[in-house]
Symmetry: D3
Subunit: 223 residues, 6 copies
């Protein structure tokens, strides 16, 4: 029976939800069905602490609403994972977060990981999130492009070169062994970035899907 995954976009942009659901469906195939939910309030593209606070609230509400029809696993599909721990308090099914899943996955691929994402306000927020996860010593550095996720999503091709430069600097200057491409806006760009640099590169949605399957599998065997 296919896994029932709820993908919660913490941004209010439906097109972003659709793109992530499509990507998830393409990767998981018949192994899963994916329900996409979009934040009912907040920002189209989260790019500061205030928008992230609204998103955490929206995630908590979306997660609580899932109790009426619980999925096998939920994914907070916003890199930075607003509301992740609140969501986990609310429900019995497992909840994965894109940033947490990416960092924990990357920890199994190298000693230190670097993060490449869009929007300069995310740099301190992600450093703080890594520290809150206990992973400050594993984080080589965050490279947040001066353009936002919204701008990357609007013209991914134009952003690719800058992402490659940031990934290279993460390896060469920050000492990263693995690069995480973080954020919904970067979904789909991994292959072209990976082709251009030597270290492994992972996409944050791919990692979240992989960890969601891992958590759901363990939960299933626990019943």
């Amino acid at each position: 029976m296919p896994l029932d995954i709820a993908l919660l976009n913490a941004n209010t942009t439906v097109a972003m939800t659709d793109r992530m659901v499509a990507r998830a469906a393409a990767r998981l195939g018949p192994r899963a069905t994916v329900r996409g939910l979009t934040a009912p309030f907040g920002a189209p593209y989260i790019s500061d602490r205030a928008a992230s606070a609204a998103a955490a609230h929206a995630v908590a509400e979306m997660t609580a609403a899932l109790r009426a029809d619980p999925p096998d696993v939920a994914i907070i599909a916003c890199f930075g994972d607003p509301g992740l721990w609140a969501a986990r308090e609310l429900v019995a099914f497992p909840v994965a977060g894109m940033a947490e899943a990416s960092m924990l996955t990357a920890c199994q691929m190298g000693r230190r990981f670097g993060i490449v994402t869009g929007g300069p306000a995310w740099k301190p927020m992600l450093e703080e999130f890594a520290a809150a996860c206990g992973l400050a010593s594993r984080l080589a550095g965050v490279r947040a492009l001066p353009i936002t996720g919204a701008e990357i999503a609007a013209d991914p091709a134009a952003a690719t070169g800058r992402l490659i430069d940031a990934a290279r600097a993460g390896v060469a200057e920050d000492g990263a062994d693995v690069i995480i491409l973080g954020g919904a806006a970067l979904v789909g760009l991994r292959d072209v970035v990976a082709a251009a640099i030597a270290a492994p590169v992972v996409d944050s949605l791919d990692c979240a899907l992989a960890q969601a399957e891992a958590l759901a599998g363990l939960a299933a065997c626990s019943r």
Copy 2:
């Protein structure tokens, strides 16, 4: 000219706002006027991560609304400081938080501080907040009563004995040099607790007011 202080209650309970404003007015006298604002949505008494996430959103919205008529300083009047850093990003005037202000004040009174508050879910949340402030090594321990802030506020006299026991354990077992009574519900109970134990005891609203005056004074001299 008196200081213009905006006191933002992150809970939705107006009576709690009123009690804090009254306490603030009694302490500051003619030095300040205090505007009380109450969260327009969220929980009457925050007691879990989901309510705290909603509160952070409400705080961000209340703070942004203050831009139309900025105070000299704002106080996030909820121990745990939901939305504190989001609020700081939104405005030019200083913003104090009850938990942060209490911890920083207590750091000047002893090597390690203990926190006594209501509601068991706050223990990990406050440990995480202290760590996020860099103060994990200064925190002796959090003693969160099994009753919530709401229950303490409903019958403070009944709670006093339990608060005294928790404060004593904080000193004797956790090694605290100073005790912070944290939360709006505990406002007004400091004197009776302090009288019963040897170590210094501070109230979180008093600390927030003191730090708000300190920050506002520095901001004024900066102009």
Copy 3:
């Protein structure tokens, strides 16, 4: 096409390898084939640092030998993960470790995890391993029974009560939100332990299999 998993038992006991391969086959079904390899030298049951050093050497040699016929993913099937990082340096395919996989999985299920295992010498070794992974702040505590893994494997039923007591103490005294049952000797005992305590309980081999699938899936999509 089923996943080709190499399960490397770092102990020299073939029966333990067989039991783990059987468990893996039962859990993964047609999704994977599992090749079991047993350490050609070292200790039947690793229970001190010297045996762990020999095991790390054996793991490195077994992993290097896999280069002739690389699997999709390898698992270091010994809780404590001897030779994990050496193995990763030697091959291009992903390598999972039982302890690392368990800790990273547990981090997604609660703020702090406790470890229950057999053999008192493992307590400092596992504390050091958690710290080396950056996860010291996430570890609530290690409860290592005074009997070794070998003794548990010889008479699992007799050990169950002690495991349950240790798991309960991990939750009640150490503050663990999740309990990891660590070690090959404990495989198969999760359900009875989980039934007896309130917090989630995970088995270390189950976690390693889940993370191995996650890593292999990401590696496949990278090609």
Copy 4:
């Protein structure tokens, strides 16, 4: 009734004491009277560990002598706070330190603070002091000019450009959100430095006065 503040200069230079008392009087006006005390032995300008050790001794002796006529609050008016914790052990009234007060104040204005001061030997000493306060993760960096506090005090105008350069580097290279101008010698230079850079800039004596008022106010309400 005005606050009775004892300002303890840990250096032996009376002119420095006088300048700080004058600055304090100008800032606090009728709210306080300020008694200036100058170290009876030690160095005119502390610029190494040996002088700092002598200063800590002098501070302890000056503080103990205050017991005959206790002020409302004392300030250790030397950035680096020699003898701060010894002083606190000796008396019941609160004691503020210039460096501690500055760091705790700055923590409420930004995620990470930078320190600009004079005298290269202070860089490791202040890094160690920040770590001892638990604030290593909040410290962006210390920029200690190659000229000493004595040289800055002798010709402040000549030093201003170097201070501005150091403050800019603290923001641009070290990632500081707030800059602390540390030390008696830099008192009076804040406005010109602040005018030249984007981030907030605080003076260490101003911070000490603000925290001294905060601590004295809390102590008063405790009686």
Copy 5:
């Protein structure tokens, strides 16, 4: 040629200096001559932060005076090492500290060390010193008897039982692998304590002498 060791007693009690010099002479024999120096001011037995501050000043002055006739190596013979880093800044010859030497030696004998000493005020001071040395993770705990070093020195036989109890608790409750008997007052009691407990026990003066010889030997070969 025998090593020329300057033993600096940071307390003002000459009899304590003499006892330590005698112990040193007995241990080192013809390998060294030992000059005993006693602090010219400060406390007979350091038991709080104020006395420790005075001692650091005295140590700096005694060390500076040694420049007229430099020894091969100096030892700060007071557990807690007041003025250690100031002394190192002042002279070219190596300087060992009793607490630092003990901790670094003990690190080579076990994963975690416990400290047993006299005088309750030393507990936080030694915890802070260990942290300042970077060794917080290696410290199992400090057990400071409620009696001071002075009282132990006055009647060592009476104190022995309490020291043994504290050492046992350090092993059994704090998890220490090695016990350090810290302080001049405990010199000579190691053998009787060691005979009563299972873990290794080291005396702080013995450790300081051993590290002084090590440092002097390296300095000699550097010339």
Copy 6:
């Protein structure tokens, strides 16, 4: 009676053992006799994690074999100290490690130490080792030359310039107060490097010998 020292070369290169034994004999003279042992399996020059794992195994076996004729003290003569803690578990006599001894010695000579060695794979391994010793905050940085220890040993003169450059960068860029020349291949090069830079420079074998004598002396007095 001379000290009986067992020097365990964790590499398989006998010429390296001989050179280290000769150096030890030259430094210790009649104070000690030195038995050189060479790893019976593993790599001629350890330069990656797999070789280090084999070396740890070899060290454990060599140490266990010493139980038949125990020396006064053993030295793991390979910078990185493979098998150090396993060896300590196996025997009652003290065991010193070259990297541990160097770091602990250097801690007594400056606030932060830098490491210069050969072979790029050693950089993360030594950073991890320093962290495992609790000394991450004392490590200024590791400078691992792109040439291996084997290449340095083959033509030391050619490597000297690069070692001096690395040592200088350790001081000027990393902020090291002391430089450790790490590794058997660098034995004998200390004087020429030390002559070229301002900060103290120590050789890792010299430090291991000094700490071995210190530990043996303490163990002797314990009997």
